[in-house]
């Protein structure tokens, strides 16, 4: 059993939720890939902001507004440094990855994509990186093509290379697949895409909580993050965009503060990132996200990454022993989760029984129906890790799986 490293030793105590029970059992939370629990300092940051500091952002001439604006812009700096952006203006705040990809798809369709252009997505995408492209497809006259994967859940890079041509304008894929745990070789993919002049959009929903992100090293053009999966409040996330690209991108939503001048006949728009932030943003939630980034930095992303790998190895070994259990997703490079089925048992039944033992895992298609069809399963069970996960959680999960087997067979 791996030993919790020094920097994570007291982490669990910082998450108030673990003081509660579920069906009279201690909470074993293994659904961080859906959303993470929140440390006390993030909750306290929200309380303090709403209680003592609350004001709207931008353009107010009074102190509360100026201070809120300064805090909001400070969160932008934190987000920029979190992904190693060149400048804070490369960060657009929004609700999360779903909105980020919708923004990118619509904005690129309005400004850059031409009829006949191709958008490549991978076979292991979350619906959030499929449906937005379908929604703009007809309007923009583009084609969506799918980069295939093998049965371990790894992208076929040869096939990818063969698909690249001058017609390919966007390559959109996740850094880590939420249904499989696969870590995709973004740097390599980006280099190839740039060879044909394509823009690379990375869905970082699952990577941001676990891996050190460096958009300059990856050399990607757009990188989307959900704050609620990385210990921040619900309702806030961000899109990193290379500034020279953001400048070429048309606005997404229209409204206040994203405009320069409004006439009924026509409007002109602000520079990025403000052009993309129409209306009152999730002010407190963005400031809370800044706090979550500090929380992650204080632990150290190297330590987080290493612990995630240790948990993954332990879970893989521990669950392999369960009769009939088959992993779905066995890529060499993985992060954050194990997904599996157990012969003869429906994931929903198993999850319902686990719930009674206090274990929160996800049963379902994980918003990745094409992945389920690839592996020919209706659904899988997924146990995903956070900074608060300990090996004992995996043991409890394993014991629960044994009980489920007993009850269901």
């Amino acid at each position: 059993m791996p030993v919790v490293p020094e920097s994570l030793r007291d982490i669990r105590a910082q998450f108030p939720i673990f003081a509660r029970t579920v069906h009279d059992q201690p909470l074993v939370y293994l659904d961080t890939a859906a959303t993470s629990q929140k440390p006390a300092r993030v909750i306290e940051r929200l309380r303090k902001f709403y209680s003592d500091e609350y004001g709207t952002v931008r353009r107010g001439s009074y102190l509360l507004c100026q201070q809120s604006t300064a805090m909001f812009e400070c969160a932008r700096k934190k987000a920029a440094s979190f992904v190693n952006a060149e400048r804070p203006e490369e960060i657009v705040f929004l609700r999360g990855v779903t909105e980020a990809i919708n923004l990118a798809a619509v904005s690129l369709a309005r400004s850059i994509l031409k009829p006949g252009d191709e958008v490549l997505v991978s076979a292991m995408e979350h619906h959030a990186n499929i449906v937005p492209w379908q929604l703009v497809r007809d309007m923009a006259g583009i084609h969506i093509r799918v980069i295939p994967m093998n049965d371990k859940g790894e992208l076929c890079l040869d096939a990818y290379e063969a698909m690249l041509s001058e017609r390919v304008k966007v390559v959109a894929l996740n850094h880590v697949a939420n249904s499989l745990g696969t870590i995709n070789p973004i740097k390599q993919i980006t280099a190839l895409a740039h060879g044909v002049g394509a823009i690379v959009l990375v869905d970082g929903a699952q990577s941001a909580p676990h891996l050190k992100i460096d958009v300059r090293d990856l050399d990607c053009d757009l990188y989307a993050v959900s704050g609620h999966k990385m210990y921040g409040p619900s309702g806030a996330g961000f899109l990193y965009g290379r500034y020279s690209l953001l400048e070429r991108m048309a606005p997404y939503q229209g409204g206040g503060e994203m405009i320069d001048r409004v006439e009924f006949s026509e409007s002109t728009f602000e520079d990025p990132p403000y052009r993309f932030e129409a209306g009152t943003p999730p002010i407190a939630e963005v400031i809370g996200l800044g706090e979550a980034i500090d929380f992650l930095h204080d632990i150290g992303l190297e330590a987080i990454e290493a612990w995630d790998q240790a948990l993954l190895a332990y879970a893989t070994a521990r669950l392999s022993a369960i009769p009939g259990l088959r992993f779905v997703g066995e890529a060499e490079a993985r992060s954050g989760l194990v997904a599996f089925t157990i012969d003869g048992m429906h994931p929903f039944d198993v999850a319902s029984i686990l719930d009674r033992k206090g274990v929160a895992v996800r049963a379902g298609h994980h918003c990745a129906q094409p992945v389920m069809r690839h592996f020919d399963v209706p659904a899988t069970l997924r146990a995903s890790f956070g900074v608060y996960t300990v090996p004992e959680d995996i043991d409890t999960l394993a014991a629960g799986l044994e009980l489920a087997r007993d009850m269901l067979s």
Binding site: I353, A379, M407
Partner: protein, 146 residues
Amino acid sequence: MANSIAEKQADITASFQAIDDWESRYRKIIQLGKALPDMPEERKTEDNKVKGCQSQVWLHAALENGRLVFQADSDAAIVRGLIALLLEVYSGQTPAEILAADQTFIDDIGLIEHLSQTRSNGLSAMIKQIKYYALAYDAVIKRSGA
């Protein structure tokens, strides 16, 4: 004569409330599901599928002598058990009886108190679908009776 819906619901509720640990209640539900006759494969059509469930759920209804006869199935064991309970209560009742019935009993058996509130297991979707059939057939009966 068949028992009334209310009587059947009371019986089921009582029999579950008599069991005081969750594990035994779940085991009982799973047993009930096992005892439920399989639905013929040819009835497991897209049309008969109940939308909004994590597991697959099929429901088929037919009117026989003024009574609604339901067949249903699921690929998940616990849901099958719940289906067995629902069919025991509703199948063979008249549309009017079904429409008049209180549907909260499933909340009272202390097994799945929270499940019916969410869209997670398709139970509420299935109860809704049963009511829809009752409503539709009730209209049919009234029209042909007039």
